[in-house]
Structure formats: C-alpha cells, structure tokens
Amino acid sequence: MDFSVVIGGEAGQGAFSVELEATEMLAALGYHFFATKNYMSRVRGGHNFHMIRIADHPVHALSGYPWDMIMALDGETERRHRPNLREGGIYLSREMTREIESEARSAFGSVVASNSVLVGFLLSVIGADSDRVANASGEERRELLKRGRSFAERWNFAGHFAIPPRAGTGCRLDGNQALALGAILGGCQFMAGYPMTPATSIMHHFSMAARSAPVHFEQAEDEISAVNMALGASYAGVRAMVATSGGGFALMQEGVSLAGMTETPIVIVLAQRPGPATGLPTRTEQADLNFVVHAGHGEFARIVFAPGSINEAIRLARDSFDLADRFQIPVFLLTDQYFADSVQVVEEALALEPRFREPPAADAAYRRYRLTEDGISPLAFPGLSDSLVRVDSDEHDEEGKITEDLELRTRMVDKRFGRRDLLRNAAVPPTLFGNGEADTLVLCWGSNRLILQEAVERLGGEGIRLAGLHFGQVYPLTAEMIAPHGLKSRRLVSVENNAGGQFAALLKRELGIEVSESVLKYNGECFTVGELCRSLRRIVTGGDR
C-alpha cells in the first residue's frame, strides 16, 4: 500500500502548514512516510506544491505519477496536477477546500484553522484511527482534525486509501535538521552564516540550539566574513562550521584556501541549488561537485561528503568535525535543496551521544607547524598554556612566521598536500544495494541514494537485475573504496542531478573508471522513483547501444 498526495497552493496560503502538521501527526501515529516540496522564490503568490507519500513500508523518495490524491488550494493546482491524478483518485477541488476554509472561518474564527481540517481529512482518507488521532493531537487541534474527518465522511472518502501504520516511533527530520543535529553531535559550537536558500534552515536549527546549549550562531555581513569568522573561532579552539549555497560558497573560496594554508579545521556545508549565478534559488541540482572538489586556489587536502539519507547525514556531519580536526583540513558536506527539504523518518536507531574535544596540551616550545613524520602538527589554542599559537596565510616556517625559504616551501607543500594519503586510508566506502551480482551497476552520490535504491528494488521486482552503489564520500575516491564491487568488469550507469555528468568525470580522472551511460536531470527537480525506473529500464533493456 502506497499513497501519494500533492497539496498545491500559492506561497503563504497554508500548503506548507498542511505538510508540516500532517508529517507531525503521521510520525506520531507511526506511519511510514516521505514528504518533500517544490516551491518558488517568492513569499506570496505563485504556485508551490507539497508532496507526501504514505505507505505500509519504509519510503524515502517520491514514487512518481500518478497521484492518489490532490488537494487544491489554488486554481493552478487543477491545471498543473489534475492530469496526473490516478483513475479513482481523490480530487479535492478548490471549491471543496473553499468550503473547508469557510467552515473553518465560521466555526473557529480563522482560515488558518482550515490547515488542520485538511490534515484531519487526509488522516481519515488513509483510515487513521480516530481515537489515536485524538490522543496524538494537542487539545487545540483536536476539534479541527475531527472536522476534517467529517468532511471526508461527508464526501465519502474516509478510509478510501487505508494504510496500516507500521512504523515504530522513528525520528522525523528534514535534511537540514539532520545536518545541524549532526554538527552539534560532532561538538560543533560555532557557526557563522549569511542567509541563503537552501542552507538557511541549517543556521536556523543551529541558532535555536544556541538558546540553551553552549553553541553560538553569528549572522555575518556576507559569506566572506562568515567563513573567516568560523576560521577565527576554530583557531581559538572551538569547533566551527559554515553553511551556504553556490553563490555564497563562491565568496568563501579564498577562505577555503586559507583553511588549507593555515591547516585550520573547518566544516563547510554546501547546499546546492541550480546555477549558475542566482539560478533557481528554491530548486534542486547537483552541479557544484566540481566546484567544491577544486575550491580554493593552490593545492591542499580535503574531504567531500555527500550524504544520501538522514542517518548518513547525521553521521557524516558528526564525523566531519573529528576528521577536520584530525587532519586539520576543510571538510565539505555537499547536499542540495531536495535533501534539505525532504522530511523523512529514520527507521534505525541514531547514535546520539554528543562528542567533546579534549583540550590539547602544549608547552612554551610549541610550534604550530612542527614538521612531523605524517605531516600533522599538534593542534593547540591560544591562551590555554604558555605556548603562543601563530598562524599565517603566507608560506610559513614551523613557528608560523613568514618565510621565503624555498626549500622549506617544498616541505610545507608536502606537509599540507601529502596528507592526501592519510585521507585515502580514512575514506568512507560506498554503499551497495540491489542485486550484487548484476551485470549493470548504477552509481549515484548525495541525495539520489534512496531514490535509486527504491528504483533498483522496483526493477528487481520486474526481473531486471541491477545493483546500485551510492557514494557518501565523493572525494577523495580511492581504489580501495571500489575494490569489492568490480567496477571495471561491469556496465556502469551514473545517475546525477546535473547536465555535465560531473561525478562520472571525476571517477574517470581519479580511478580510470568509465561509465557507459548517464541519466541526467537538470530542470531543477529531483528524480522520482518512477521516472528513474523508466530511464534505467530503457538503458538495460535497450541492449548495449
């Protein structure tokens, strides 16, 4: 049982509230669900739509057309979505939602109340138990939800798509919440940022934590300032991060290079949206992989993660701070609007112990850039001992003083750049799913993980043998990471949300692996499982061409 609903309306009309409240209730009631949204870069008007998928089994992607139900809060919804309604699906027309609105207004004194009424309607359609609904909802909403149920009953939709609640009480999080949570678990105590879609809510969740936890969010005057503030905080001893999107990340490039030169640990979240320039600010894309892998002038080591699930996002975000510290490098978390805006339930248990960095010891003979065997010098922070901590963006000697000793220069490059070998050994392997023996292996990275996973499963059900491989770490790529999966002897297909097939090209450069086909999408929307199945089916059954 698998049910997909779309709620369409103008910005500011309430569709988001419906989604938010519905997912809250669904989580409380123990439903498996997945929700995401598609919205314009404006505050009022236009046309946004919110999609919720509810099932009797874990779901983590959009299924694809047709819709089982459509709720229209504006006229555009009819035009845009109705053609995609399944036969026998429920269409809640603008007239019907108007009726609900006017009843909400007369009975509860506000149109806003109609949002909860719509949620009550939805819950009734999927056959949610009315007592459990009443128990799970707060006092204030109980009546409203009930009213929604009456509408469903009146219009004969109650229990029309009954779905049993089969999930435990999992954690409900969107991608940006997961990243902020992971950061806090990783001991991050300082974040600086400048609002930018789709990264802003990471800052929001971090600044909310600051109300009671020992963390601080500082809104910077621009992204240049943000990254330099974070580097200052990190230098001073506090784990630090920034989050931004393409244009803001462009402004951080010099700071990235500064992190590399000064070996100052930092975690940088790049939440991708379609570019170039301002592009489509509220849509999704995966076109900044090349940009982040090559960010900053000069040569230095880095790690780039691209989590594909809530759990992985929490884990990689958390670990990023340890890795940034251990290797004294910038660690990047590459995500996107689709991931940021998708609400998912985590089925597995989360490791929720916050980490804490033990204060390092240093004495008066301390040298920040001491040349050591493995190229990593001990970290220390100012004011905690008699040691002075000196850090320099110029080429420097072991003490952090400017040098123009060219022999030392070479050693310092080897120190900074040579630690790539250490990073290789610490690489996080990709995740395999589907039929491990299949001839065709489909590669993906970042937010496409769970879409592909379901597509591979669905095709498997049709008898199309496929395996999928998801890279949560996209840089560095090492031979060891792929060794178990025999990439050289399989037909490889890559799936990416960009026009250039950037990951496939990186794989070729780094590991000499060549994909034979790419499934690319770059209109600003994520893949759905259905559409990915169609593309992969065509590729696999279309033979070797």
Partner: protein
Amino acid sequence: MTTARSDIAWCPGCGNFAIRDALEKAIRELPVPRKDIVLTSGIGQAAKMPHYIDVNFFNGLHGRSLPLAVGIKLARPDLTVIAYSGDGCHYGEGGNHFIQTIRRRLDITILVSDNQVYALTKGQTSPTTDPGTVNSLDPEGNRNLPLNPVLLALSMGAPFVARGYAGEKSHLKDLIREAILFRGTSVVDILQPCVSFNRTNTYEWYGDRVYRLRKPRTGLFQAMKTAAVWGDRIPIGVLYRNEEAECRTGKTLYGERITDEDIRNQLGLPCVMMR
C-alpha cells in the same frame, strides 16, 4: 623570543617601527599576560605587525582581519583581541567588515597603520589617498574622494575613536593602551609615514600639522566635526569616548559540553520552510 630589527621586513625609516614600539610598550603595560592576547591581521606592510610582537596571532587574508577577530572573540571572550592592518586592508578590501564589525559592539580593538597608500604592492591609491595623487595605476591622478576613517567609525556608532601619529610615540602608546582597555569596539587610525611610496604625507608634513586634543569631544556631533578636521591642522588623540555604550559579550563556549538534553531539545524542533 624577541624579534631582531634586521628580521623586520620594513624599510628603514618606516613609520611602522615607531608604531610597533608603541604597541609593544602598550602591551607590556597591560594587566593581561601575552598568552591571552591575539593579534589578527590581513595582508600588507602593516599586516606584518604580528610577526614582530610576541603574542598569539592569526595573520589571515588581505582585508579579512576583522571577521577573524570577531570569530575569535565570540569563541573565546576571555581573550584580548586586536585586529591590526593597513588602510588598504581595513578600509579598502575589508571596508564592509570595518563598518559591520563596529555594529557588533564586541570588545575588539581595531588598529590601522594609515599610510594612505597600498605600500606592499608598491604604491597604488588606497581609500585614504589624497585626491590628485599620481602613481603607477593612477597616471592621471586619483579622482576619488578619500574616506575619512574616524568620521566613518563615528557614523557607524563606534564608542571609542582615536587618531594617533607614528611621530608621537608615547602619545600613541597611551592611545593604544587606552583603546585596548576600553570595553567595546575601539578604533585607532594611526598616521604612518611611508618613506618609500608616500611623498606627500611625510614626517615633515605631519610635523607641521599634527596637534594633540586635550580631551575627548563631548557629544557625537562635536566629535564628528573634529574628526572632519584635516588639512593645515590635524588633531590627534581620543576623538570620542562613549562610556555609556553597551558592549556585547559572548557566552563561554570553550570547554563547555553539549548535553543529552541539548540533543533532545534539538530533536523536538519543527521543520521550517526557510531555506
């Protein structure tokens, strides 16, 4: 460790030597151990300053000494933070940080070697260069209005604003000390002769013009008027000192642990549609 004069990469006669001595003395007179002092700087001749003073430092990017200072101060309110750079760094490339850092009301000291030129890159027009000045990138003479740093700082609400002069070393030392001790954002623009690239604003030129203010102006507009004085007479000293201005302090972060409760709170937050 003390820095030998010969290791200093400035030209003989450079105003920065005197400023360095003043800063060094001021630091010595502070009731703060050196290990608790951090100098940040950008890039330029002035920005090399931290290398010649025995304290912690983060010599960062051109124009970016202030965000570093803000990050350090917020992360570690226990540290004494001084941002040092030149006029090009603080007022040119870093102009936005200069105005916005003042708005943050943190206890940071901003010191500027103002030689009215981009010295390290060999003599180009800076934001404080006199109109008409000719140089390699301005063969027809500077066409822009120069910026008045102290007036700008005042208009942004800085509670402590002073002008110093490299040629008045002990006066300068006192100014710097007072600025560091002041609780709040303090700005000291220091007139610094550059013997290699600034042929106008020389020691002699300043010598004829500079006079000391007896005490800070009372009232912002009085201070602004004094700040605007520039020409035959150039006032140095504390232009403005606002004891009432509130200073923002960050909370203690270093060494504090995030608790399980913090995590639980975090899990309870609703999603938002504010990407």
